[in-house]
Amino acid sequence: MSSYDARFRVWRGDTEGGALEDFRVEVNDGEVVLDIIHRIQATQAGDLAVRWNCKAGKCGSCSAEINGRPRLLCMTRMSVFGREETITVTPLRAFPVVRDLVTDVSFNYTKAREIPAFVPPEGVKPGEYRMQQVDVDRSQEFRKCIECFLCQDTCHVVRDHEENKTAFAGPRFLMRVAELDMHPLDAAAESGLDRRATAQEEHGLGLCNITKCCTEVCPEHIKITDNALIPLKERAVDRKYDPLVWLGNKIRRRDAT
């Protein structure tokens, strides 16, 4: 087993301001960045704030940016860096900072509340749900999401444009809409809720320009863009840009007035 001293630069500060601080810290075989942050905490900066939980890539708490790239601290192995490299760790840069590596991720919880929940089918009692595996496969992929919010962080729609935050649900929650729209038993349509149209009209699907950064950063390797966002866009097209449907809507609206 070999160990060495690595150079770390960790952003420290709060809402008032802050800066990158240098640390030299021991690294041992097989460690991940979170181990090093913990070592800094235990030996050099006892109050260094970092959010973490399972340390096994399952809970999605320890999201941060390492050398400018959004990643999970617990799933980034030190062996991917050179020994001479200075490793820079900062908080997520799309969300308000709280302290050190901890950011205020309440944006995501607000957005979660804006997505109408699963609508259970009427007349189907618990225990009577029947679904085929091929029909649940697609939504199951999206339910692998650990809500680390790295996709929300990297998405330039809100990362680079604070003002879009009200209009845009972000990849994670557009994927949630897709998940529900593909759920074999969701009865939203029967209850009068058109998830496809609302994806466009209320959750900002049109702001997505499918540049795939969400897919690149996903630690669960969910194909967010190809399997959720683009299919959702196509479904919105079915509803909104199909000339026949469009014509039908026009006529119906005229009848109504």
Binding site: Q41, A56, P126, Y129
Partner: protein
């Protein structure tokens, strides 16, 4: 008098894992205004780590399954020490709890008929675990979380406020349960982000804080598992039950060191993975205990046939209950037949095609690939025991989940004791969370509605709690010349002590030494000091959690020393046999003096359990009962 924010709720649920969220949903649906308070972000609870599945005798894969079989398996797994009424309720209600998840949007893996698929697991006679690949806990948490969001959406439509009747206080910690006389009156809390104190006043408090694993060095548990609920209950005057029973999961990762302890799901074995020692031998055949001899295969051929034809073959011994497998691995490593990094080999690569492994065990594939650079479709994993679960916990009433001696206090999930006896079967924890989470929420809401005059929060208790919480910032003044202590160092020493001296194999002298060390640590923890301020300060948080870990560790060591037998999750090298006379004996840890419990004086009392109801006993063969029950119980 300490100035702080106070809010009034009907029910406060401490913990937002499976049990806490299920309790909150139930309480809210029963009309109680409910607050949930949790240390992490909403949706990050340790429940997400559960991989294998939810045990429920739906009989979707093998129609021979029913609640009686599930009950039997649970009692056998727990070596008959289970609070039998809990095991009965659990077996009966688990299917409903699983089915109800589907109506909230959960998507389990399916059988060809479109029902919920069920998989085999250690100790379960039939395929019984409803699952989603190997991320069942995540599905459970997400479903409950989304159900809560949907209830909040209802409130938004009705009152214009998402949080009118159900609010989640995330990243907040409870340091004290407040009382009005005997009764619960609320909780004293702080917000981790700002360090601000606040009080939630409520007649009913549900503790659902999970386990204690962070007191051990090698553990599959996350940082949250510091025994908070156990300590809160004890400090509030409620006893803890059978704390000596700590489950060491047989298969945790052993390398690299930074991930040591992270869980390798039992599904690996349920789906065909086998354990081998350094000589390539499937050693589990040598470790089938007498009580299980008839139930397990005697040869590799029979064991292998079982995967295809479970009705005519006996299951392989890799699927023995966890305590047996963990001990076997421990013995192999001690005998010098371990793997290079001090574990044994768990192999699926030679048992299943790579494609199937990736489909059935995606997270495991991912976990080993990314954390250990091991491709489990091509090579064997190295695994060893890791502290995983505490069977002991707050003593509760089986039907209502109410804690003993403290009206208004309820407990559910891992923090509650009794359900699993001396050893928990895999898959029974998620169902436990749902069954007793719901019951705790139900009865807490009922209790709150019928509480009559509301309890009054005692100002002196608030002041004391605030002073206690602030102590780490003034450690230098308190230390009076003695050096202040680094909380991280204290924590490491505690973990090392518990791991080495009260670990998987226990001996009386070692446990006595552990108790001495714990006393020393407790004294030093008084001087634990932190730098910086109250805003998101992890050193401060750890200093406060240390109190809980030390208290719980002492309970474990005391109870373990007292129980002079080996049973389930409690193995004594100096008392290696399971003694039938210990079967009806529960060990209760009680606070000696409410004013002084923090200083670590715990009273240990023996309590004889209620006899098992005859109709439940009749589910077992007489020959089997003879192996477990004490003589006087058999006579009845």
């Amino acid at each position: 008098m300490t100035e702080l924010e106070r809010q009034q709720w009907d029910v406060v649920v401490v913990g937002a894992g499976g049990a806490g969220l299920r309790a909150a949903i139930e309480a809210r649906e029963r009309g109680a205004r409910t607050a949930v308070i949790c240390k992490s972000l909403f949706g990050k609870a340790h429940t997400v780590m559960a991989e294998g599945g939810i045990a429920a005798s739906m009989g979707n894969v093998n129609s021979g399954d029913n609640w009686q079989v599930h009950f039997r398996d649970t009692m056998r797994g727990g070596k008959f020490l289970n609070q039998w009424r809990m095991a009965e309720l659990h077996a009966k209600e688990a299917p409903d709890r699983v089915w109800e998840l589907e109506t909230w949007g959960a998507l389990f893996d399916r059988t060809p008929e479109g029902k919920i698929s069920q998989r085999n697991f250690g100790g379960h006679e039939y395929p019984r675990l409803a699952h989603v690949g190997d991320r069942t806990g995540l599905e459970l948490i997400r479903t409950l979380q989304q159900k809560i969001v949907s209830l909040q959406q209802e409130d938004e439509r009705e009152f214009g406020d998402h949080e009118a009747r159900l609010k989640v206080f995330q990243e907040c910690t409870v340091t004290r349960v407040l009382k009005d006389g005997d009764r619960v009156s609320g909780t004293f809390c702080y917000e981790r982000e700002t360090g601000r104190f606040f009080v939630l006043e409520a007649p009913a408090v549900v503790l659902a804080t999970g386990g204690i694993g962070k007191s051990f060095k090698v553990t599959s548990n996350s940082w949250e598992y510091t025994g908070d609920g156990h300590a809160l209950a004890l400090l509030a005057g409620a006893p803890l039950l059978n704390m000596e029973f700590v489950q060491f999961h047989p298969t945790g990762m052993v390398w690299p060191p930074s991930v040591k302890g992270i869980l390798v799901t039992e599904s690996v074995r349920g789906d065909g993975g086998v354990l081998r020692n350094s000589e390539g031998k499937r050693f589990m055949f040598d470790y089938v205990p007498d009580v299980f001899k008839e139930k397990y295969a005697q040869s590799e051929e029979e064991g292998d046939r079982w995967y295809e034809d479970p009705d005519h073959n006996r299951r392989p011994p890799e699927l023995l209950p966890r305590d047996e497998v963990a001990r076997a691995i421990n013995s192999e490593v001690k005998a010098g037949r371990g793997s290079p990094h001090g574990g044994v080999f768990l192999d699926v690569s030679t048992r299943m095609p790579a494609e199937r492994i990736r489909r059935r065990l995606p997270s495991m594939y991912h976990q080993f690939k990314e954390l250990a650079d091991v491709d489990i479709t091509a090579e064997a994993m190295e695994v060893g025991p890791t502290c995983h679960y505490v069977m002991g916990g707050i003593a509760v009433d089986s039907d209502t989940a109410a804690a003993l001696d403290v009206p208004g206090l309820f407990a559910a999930g891992e923090v509650a004791g009794g359900m699993h006896g001396s050893n928990r079967l895999g898959g029974n924890s998620l169902s436990d969370l749902l069954v007793f989470g719901r019951r705790a929420g139900l009865h807490a809401a009922g209790y709150a509605a019928s509480a009559g005059t509301l309890p009054v929060v005692d100002e002196a208790q608030i002041d004391a709690a605030a002073a206690e919480a602030l102590r780490p910032f003034s450690a230098e003044d308190l230390a009076e010349g003695a050096p202040t202590e680094n909380p991280y160092t204290l924590h490491q020493e505690l973990q090392q002590t518990m791991n080495d001296l009260v670990g998987i194999i226990r001996r009386a002298p070692e446990m006595e030494r552990a108790l001495e060390k714990l006393a020393g640590l407790r004294e030093r923890a008084e001087r634990a000091g932190v730098e910086g301020h109250r805003q998101f300060n992890p050193g401060w948080h750890l200093s406060l959690d240390l109190r809980n870990m030390l208290l719980v560790s002492e309970c474990i060591a005391r109870a373990a020393l007292e129980r002079t037998e080996s049973r389930g999750g409690h193995t004594r090298e100096d008392c290696p046999v399971m003694e039938r006379s210990w079967r009806p004996v529960n060990l209760l840890c009680r606070p000696v003096d409410e004013q002084d419990t923090a200083s670590g004086r715990i009273d240990l009392v023996r309590k004889v359990t209620e006899p098992i109801r005859p109709d439940l006993l009749s589910l077992f063969e007489k020959e089997e009962l003879v192996k477990y029950l004490a003589d006087e119980e058999l006579e009845e």
